[in-house]
Structure formats: C-alpha cells, structure tokens
C-alpha cells in the first residue's frame, strides 16, 4: 500500500506516470535520476521489475481508469500526468478523467493511432505518436545520410 508524507514530497513538482512498459519505466528512471518526484502506476506488479534498482520514486499497483486509483496516486497534487499504457483507448479515457474530474494541469498521452484526434482535441491533452516521430526521424536520415554517424552514436548509448 502506498503512503505518502507531505514532507517527503514537500512542495516540489510531482509527475504521475501511468503504464510501466518500456517507455514508462525508462521515463520514470530518468525523472527519478534527475531528482524529481515520480509516482508510477501499473495494473501489474511484475511490470515494475523493469525499473532500475536506483529508482527512487513510488509505485502503485492499480487500474488507473479508476478515479480512486488516481486519487491514491495524489493526482490532485500532480503537475504532470504522463499516460503511456499500450492501449490507446485506455490512455484517452484516463486523460479525459484526469482533465475533467481532477483538472490536472498538464496531461501528456502516448497514442499509437492519432486518428481519433477529434475525441480528445477539446480536452487540452498533449499527444505524442511513436509512428509519426519515427517516420520523421527516418525521413530526416533519408534526406541527410551524412548525419547517419552522429545519430548512430546518439542512439548507441
């Protein structure tokens, strides 16, 4: 069970991440390394094994489409909510729940299929689409083969 002390969190910014897949865990590790407060939610406790042993944030097992779980994750205090489960519809629903019921100021949502834009446009949710990002990166490489080495080095670390 999660327990948070106000002192521990203090007044510094809080980021809630939903979904501990490759992206969720990498992001959580990174933010935690930077000394930020992170709460990571996943339905499956085993998913948290992906986190590095140095991860200093909190984890919460639960269904984030449930308002009670979000509340438990201190969503009312969160400055950022990053939703990266592997199901687009789940991500949309959590984003809407957070914006509508908890007025979360900043919501970022990963969507594989950007076609449903009309559904979430009006909610002020930022979205990122891996396909669009990858195709942009690939296109850049195609147009500028000379940058291959630099990008290769960047990607190799």
């Amino acid at each position: 069970m999660l327990s948070i002390h106000v002192n521990w969190l203090g007044k510094s910014k809080l980021t809630v991440i939903v979904g501990c897949g490759r992206l969720g865990s990498t992001l959580a590790d990174q933010l935690s390394d930077e000394g930020k407060n992170v709460i990571l939610i996943d339905q499956n406790e085993a998913a948290f094994r992906k986190l590095s042993p140095a991860y200093a944030g909190l984890t919460l097992v639960g269904d984030a489409t449930d308002a009670a779980t979000l509340k438990q994750a201190e969503i009312e205090r969160a400055d950022h909510l990053v939703i990266v489960t592997n199901n687009d519809n789940t991500n949309i629903m959590i984003a809407q729940l957070a914006r509508e019921c908890f007025q979360t100021p900043h919501v970022i949502c990963r969507l594989y299929d950007p076609q449903r834009e009309c559904v979430y446009r009006e909610f002020g949710i930022q979205t990122i689409c891996p396909t669009a990002l990858s195709s942009l990166a690939i296109e850049r490489l195609l147009n500028n083969p000379a940058s291959l080495n630099q990008t290769g080095q960047e990607g190799g670390n």
């Binding site: 489409t65 449930d66 308002a67 009670a68 199901n87 687009d88 519809n89 789940t90 949309i92 629903m93 809407q96 729940l97 509508e100 019921c101 299929d113 076609q115 449903r116 009309c118 559904v119």
Partner: protein, 221 residues
Amino acid sequence: MKKRILIVGGFHKAQTLARSFLEKGYDVTAINKNPLHCRVLAQMSDLTVLTGDGSKPFVLEDAQAENADIAIALTPRDDDNLVICQLCKKQFHVRKTVSLVANPEKIKFFYRMGIDSVVCALSAITSIVEQQTFLDEFTTLLPLGDGELRISELRLPATSPVIGKTLSEIQLSRDVIIATILRQDQPLVPHGDTKLLAQDVLILIAAAKQEAASVRVLQGK
C-alpha cells in the same frame, strides 16, 4: 426513412438486440472484432455485419456511421465503449449514443463526457434482484432521472401503525409524496384528511434516498 442503428461489440447482447431491432423494422449494422462472432451474427438475414475494431474511425466509416441515428457500444471494456461513443458523436455526428459500462462508478463520468445514455449492467441487475426480494410488500414501478427519483407501489399491511390515521398525522419526509391511493382498485386523490385503511395501495413518488425510511414509517418495520 428507416431508422439506422449501429451496434458495436458484444456478442450475445448484440445478437439479441439486433434481432429485436430488425423485428421492429430498423436498419441494423453490427461491428465486431471477432471474425467467428461475425460469422454467427451474419446468419441473421437483413443484418449488416462488419469485422473490425469499432473504436477505429476508418471501421466506423466503412460501417457508414455518419448515416446512423443511434450508436450502441457493447464491448466489455469501458474505455473502448467511451471512445466508440465519442467518435460516433464527434466525428460522425450520430444523434444518440448509448454505452454499456461495467463499473457503476463511471456512469456519471460517461454522462459528463457527452454519452446520451449510459447503461450499467451491474447496477441494473442488483436493483432488479433487490426489488424482487421485496416484491410482495413493495415494488418500484418506475425509476426516474437515473434512479434518483422513483415511483413505487406499497400495500399497507393490517399491522401498519398508520392505519386509521389521516395523512396529515403521519410523519413522512418532505422528499416523499403519496401521489394516489388505490382503495379496492379505485383510485383516490389523497388529501390531508384522507384516512389510511388496511390493504390500501399507496403510489409513492420518492427521492431514492428517502424511500427506505418512508417504507418503514408506513409499514411499521
């Protein structure tokens, strides 16, 4: 023109609903992800069946969602149903959307998100079971406004403490009114000086929260 109904997801529910809509003369299209389910659904003559994920805009487009009058989302997942209904509403301008919801706590949220009608199987079933349990003494005839208000029927047993009293003498909550009294099957308009008799059937309009308390006052339990 025939009314067009679009049913997304659900297998047995879709089957039963489609059959009933077709009998009533509606034009029905069903979308289902599972090809096996689609094959069974397609055995129904006059039903248009489409295999695909109904939460994707191009599938809804194939199903000509823009021509539908009503869209019904019956998948087992709340998030899918929400997105299906929102897509139908916002992108395809379907006039009315109906969604099934598994978690009763999400009913309000779904309404807030613009779904026209939200049906929760769990709360529907539990309230029917509850009603059937007390059928002999007390029946809800009609839930109104999402069940917040109910019209119900109550027969006064001979043991009731209110028998022989006038309506002005009994202490009922302000959120409950006795709309009419059926005395030997004759309707009676109640007034403050109307005396209650055993075997009177009271038709109550009550806020759901106050209902149980008023039943206790009237039946003396």
